[in-house]
Protein backbone atom coordinates (compact mmCIF):
# COMPACT_ATOMS: atom_id res chain seq x y z
CA UNK A 1 0.00 0.00 0.00
CA UNK A 2 1.36 3.44 -0.95
CA UNK A 3 1.49 5.74 2.05
CA UNK A 4 2.40 9.44 1.99
CA UNK A 5 3.42 11.42 5.04
CA UNK A 6 3.30 15.18 5.48
CA UNK A 7 4.78 17.86 7.70
CA UNK A 8 5.88 16.80 11.18
CA UNK A 9 4.87 13.19 10.58
CA UNK A 10 7.05 13.09 7.46
CA UNK A 11 9.93 14.54 9.44
CA UNK A 12 9.62 12.12 12.35
CA UNK A 13 9.29 9.04 10.15
CA UNK A 14 11.98 10.38 7.88
CA UNK A 15 10.25 9.51 4.63
CA UNK A 16 7.95 11.38 2.28
CA UNK A 17 6.36 8.27 0.85
CA UNK A 18 6.78 4.51 0.96
CA UNK A 19 5.07 1.28 -0.02
CA UNK A 20 4.19 -0.73 3.09
CA UNK A 21 3.31 -4.44 3.06
CA UNK A 22 0.17 -4.72 5.12
CA UNK A 23 -1.02 -8.02 6.63
CA UNK A 24 -4.37 -9.27 5.30
CA UNK A 25 -6.10 -9.04 8.66
CA UNK A 26 -5.65 -5.28 8.74
CA UNK A 27 -8.42 -3.46 6.90
CA UNK A 28 -9.44 -0.31 8.76
CA UNK A 29 -7.53 2.92 9.22
CA UNK A 30 -7.50 2.44 12.98
CA UNK A 31 -5.86 -0.95 12.58
CA UNK A 32 -3.40 0.44 10.05
CA UNK A 33 -2.29 3.24 12.37
CA UNK A 34 -1.78 0.73 15.16
CA UNK A 35 0.16 -1.55 12.82
CA UNK A 36 2.44 1.34 11.80
CA UNK A 37 3.40 1.96 15.43
CA UNK A 38 4.91 -1.54 15.48
CA UNK A 39 7.27 -0.80 12.57
CA UNK A 40 9.79 1.09 14.66
CA UNK A 41 10.26 3.84 17.16
CA UNK A 42 10.04 6.63 14.60
CA UNK A 43 6.63 5.33 13.46
CA UNK A 44 5.48 5.01 17.02
CA UNK A 45 6.56 8.58 17.73
CA UNK A 46 4.93 9.89 14.58
CA UNK A 47 1.47 8.38 14.93
CA UNK A 48 1.13 7.69 18.65
CA UNK A 49 -1.34 10.50 19.33
CA UNK A 50 -4.22 9.38 17.16
CA UNK A 51 -6.20 12.52 17.99
CA UNK A 52 -3.62 14.61 16.19
CA UNK A 53 -3.55 12.47 13.07
CA UNK A 54 -5.65 12.91 9.95
CA UNK A 55 -5.92 10.32 7.24
CA UNK A 56 -7.01 10.70 3.65
CA UNK A 57 -7.63 7.79 1.28
CA UNK A 58 -7.37 8.75 -2.36
CA UNK A 59 -7.45 12.41 -1.31
CA UNK A 60 -10.58 12.23 0.81
CA UNK A 61 -10.72 12.47 4.59
CA UNK A 62 -11.64 9.16 6.26
CA UNK A 63 -12.07 8.16 9.88
CA UNK A 64 -10.57 5.29 11.83
CA UNK A 65 -13.34 2.81 10.95
CA UNK A 66 -12.86 3.26 7.21
CA UNK A 67 -11.90 0.17 5.18
CA UNK A 68 -8.95 1.20 3.03
CA UNK A 69 -8.44 -1.99 1.04
CA UNK A 70 -9.64 -0.49 -2.26
CA UNK A 71 -7.57 2.68 -1.96
CA UNK A 72 -4.62 3.55 -4.15
CA UNK A 73 -2.99 6.04 -1.83
CA UNK A 74 -3.17 6.72 1.88
CA UNK A 75 -1.99 10.06 3.29
CA UNK A 76 -1.22 10.56 6.96
CA UNK A 77 -0.73 14.06 8.32
CA UNK A 78 -1.15 16.35 11.35
CA UNK A 79 -3.90 19.00 11.64
CA UNK A 80 -3.70 21.39 8.70
CA UNK A 81 -2.55 25.00 9.05
CA UNK A 82 -3.07 26.55 5.64
CA UNK A 83 -4.71 29.84 4.80
Amino acid sequence: MKIIYFAKIREVIGKKTEVVEIPDNISTIGQLLFYLTTLGEEYNNAVNDINKIHVACDQEYVDSGFNFKDCQEIAIFPPVTGG
Partner: protein, 138 residues
Protein backbone atom coordinates in the same frame (compact mmCIF):
# COMPACT_ATOMS: atom_id res chain seq x y z
CA UNK B 1 -16.77 31.76 -12.68
CA UNK B 2 -14.84 29.42 -10.41
CA UNK B 3 -11.07 29.37 -10.36
CA UNK B 4 -8.55 27.58 -8.15
CA UNK B 5 -4.83 28.27 -8.36
CA UNK B 6 -2.16 26.58 -6.25
CA UNK B 7 1.29 27.93 -6.99
CA UNK B 8 4.71 28.53 -5.56
CA UNK B 9 5.31 31.95 -7.12
CA UNK B 10 4.29 35.14 -5.41
CA UNK B 11 1.10 36.88 -6.59
CA UNK B 12 -0.17 40.45 -6.46
CA UNK B 13 -3.58 40.83 -4.80
CA UNK B 14 -4.16 43.98 -6.86
CA UNK B 15 -3.50 42.16 -10.12
CA UNK B 16 -6.04 39.52 -9.15
CA UNK B 17 -8.69 42.13 -8.37
CA UNK B 18 -7.94 43.78 -11.70
CA UNK B 19 -8.11 40.50 -13.60
CA UNK B 20 -11.42 39.47 -12.05
CA UNK B 21 -13.03 42.89 -12.55
CA UNK B 22 -11.92 42.89 -16.19
CA UNK B 23 -14.08 39.78 -16.69
CA UNK B 24 -17.00 40.16 -14.29
CA UNK B 25 -18.26 43.05 -12.18
CA UNK B 26 -21.06 42.25 -9.75
CA UNK B 27 -22.90 44.55 -7.33
CA UNK B 28 -20.73 43.28 -4.49
CA UNK B 29 -17.19 41.95 -4.32
CA UNK B 30 -15.50 40.76 -1.13
CA UNK B 31 -11.87 39.73 -1.01
CA UNK B 32 -9.69 38.25 1.69
CA UNK B 33 -5.90 38.23 1.65
CA UNK B 34 -3.88 36.33 4.25
CA UNK B 35 -0.20 37.30 4.46
CA UNK B 36 2.90 36.12 6.31
CA UNK B 37 3.28 38.10 9.51
CA UNK B 38 6.63 39.46 10.65
CA UNK B 39 6.42 38.02 14.14
CA UNK B 40 4.93 35.01 15.90
CA UNK B 41 7.03 33.78 18.86
CA UNK B 42 10.06 35.52 17.36
CA UNK B 43 10.84 37.49 14.23
CA UNK B 44 10.05 35.26 11.28
CA UNK B 45 12.81 34.83 8.70
CA UNK B 46 10.62 32.91 6.30
CA UNK B 47 7.83 30.38 6.23
CA UNK B 48 7.88 27.02 4.49
CA UNK B 49 4.50 25.73 3.35
CA UNK B 50 4.15 22.05 2.55
CA UNK B 51 1.03 20.81 0.79
CA UNK B 52 -0.71 17.80 -0.73
CA UNK B 53 -1.45 19.05 -4.18
CA UNK B 54 -4.08 16.64 -5.59
CA UNK B 55 -6.09 16.69 -2.38
CA UNK B 56 -5.87 20.47 -2.03
CA UNK B 57 -7.22 20.91 -5.56
CA UNK B 58 -10.11 18.53 -4.92
CA UNK B 59 -11.06 20.21 -1.65
CA UNK B 60 -10.82 23.71 -3.07
CA UNK B 61 -12.91 22.88 -6.11
CA UNK B 62 -15.65 21.18 -4.13
CA UNK B 63 -15.69 23.98 -1.53
CA UNK B 64 -15.91 26.69 -4.18
CA UNK B 65 -18.65 24.85 -5.99
CA UNK B 66 -20.61 24.47 -2.78
CA UNK B 67 -20.20 28.16 -1.96
CA UNK B 68 -21.12 29.26 -5.47
CA UNK B 69 -24.30 27.23 -5.39
CA UNK B 70 -25.35 28.09 -1.86
CA UNK B 71 -24.89 31.86 -2.21
CA UNK B 72 -25.52 32.20 -5.93
CA UNK B 73 -22.09 33.70 -6.57
CA UNK B 74 -20.98 35.27 -9.83
CA UNK B 75 -17.34 34.68 -8.95
CA UNK B 76 -15.58 32.43 -6.47
CA UNK B 77 -11.81 32.61 -6.81
CA UNK B 78 -9.09 31.09 -4.66
CA UNK B 79 -5.31 31.23 -4.89
CA UNK B 80 -3.01 29.56 -2.34
CA UNK B 81 0.77 29.40 -2.32
CA UNK B 82 3.23 26.80 -1.11
CA UNK B 83 7.00 26.68 -0.74
CA UNK B 84 9.11 29.40 0.83
CA UNK B 85 7.34 32.65 1.73
CA UNK B 86 8.78 35.76 3.32
CA UNK B 87 7.13 38.20 5.76
CA UNK B 88 4.44 40.41 4.22
CA UNK B 89 4.08 38.16 1.19
CA UNK B 90 0.53 37.02 0.46
CA UNK B 91 -0.24 33.36 1.22
CA UNK B 92 -3.85 33.06 0.17
CA UNK B 93 -6.55 35.15 -1.46
CA UNK B 94 -10.28 34.46 -1.79
CA UNK B 95 -12.58 36.63 -3.90
CA UNK B 96 -16.36 36.31 -3.98
CA UNK B 97 -18.79 38.33 -6.10
CA UNK B 98 -22.58 38.43 -5.97
CA UNK B 99 -25.48 40.77 -6.65
CA UNK B 100 -25.79 41.69 -2.98
CA UNK B 101 -23.16 42.06 -0.30
CA UNK B 102 -24.38 39.60 2.34
CA UNK B 103 -23.84 36.61 0.06
CA UNK B 104 -20.30 37.65 -0.83
CA UNK B 105 -19.36 38.19 2.81
CA UNK B 106 -20.83 34.89 3.97
CA UNK B 107 -19.40 32.85 1.13
CA UNK B 108 -15.98 34.42 1.53
CA UNK B 109 -15.82 33.62 5.24
CA UNK B 110 -17.14 30.13 4.65
CA UNK B 111 -14.41 29.38 2.10
CA UNK B 112 -11.65 30.80 4.28
CA UNK B 113 -12.88 29.04 7.43
CA UNK B 114 -13.22 25.79 5.56
CA UNK B 115 -9.77 25.92 4.03
CA UNK B 116 -8.20 26.77 7.39
CA UNK B 117 -9.57 23.57 8.91
CA UNK B 118 -9.51 21.23 5.92
CA UNK B 119 -7.10 22.16 3.15
CA UNK B 120 -3.93 20.03 3.33
CA UNK B 121 -1.29 22.73 3.85
CA UNK B 122 1.21 22.89 6.73
CA UNK B 123 3.18 25.94 7.71
CA UNK B 124 6.60 25.89 9.31
CA UNK B 125 7.96 29.15 10.65
CA UNK B 126 11.69 29.62 10.42
CA UNK B 127 13.27 31.94 12.97
CA UNK B 128 16.89 32.99 13.22
CA UNK B 129 17.91 30.03 15.36
CA UNK B 130 15.23 27.41 14.96
CA UNK B 131 11.98 26.53 13.26
CA UNK B 132 8.55 25.40 14.34
CA UNK B 133 5.48 23.82 12.79
CA UNK B 134 2.53 26.16 13.24
CA UNK B 135 -0.22 24.83 15.51
CA UNK B 136 -3.79 24.73 14.25
CA UNK B 137 -5.87 27.55 15.72
CA UNK B 138 -9.42 27.88 14.47
Amino acid sequence: MIEVIIQEEIFDPDEIIKKIRSKIVAGAMVSFVGSVREYSDHKIQFMEIEHYDEMAKKIFLSTLNRAKEKWDLKVCYLIHRYGRLYPNEPIVMVVTCSDHRKESYKANQFVVDYLKTNAPFWKKEHFKKDSKWVKQTV
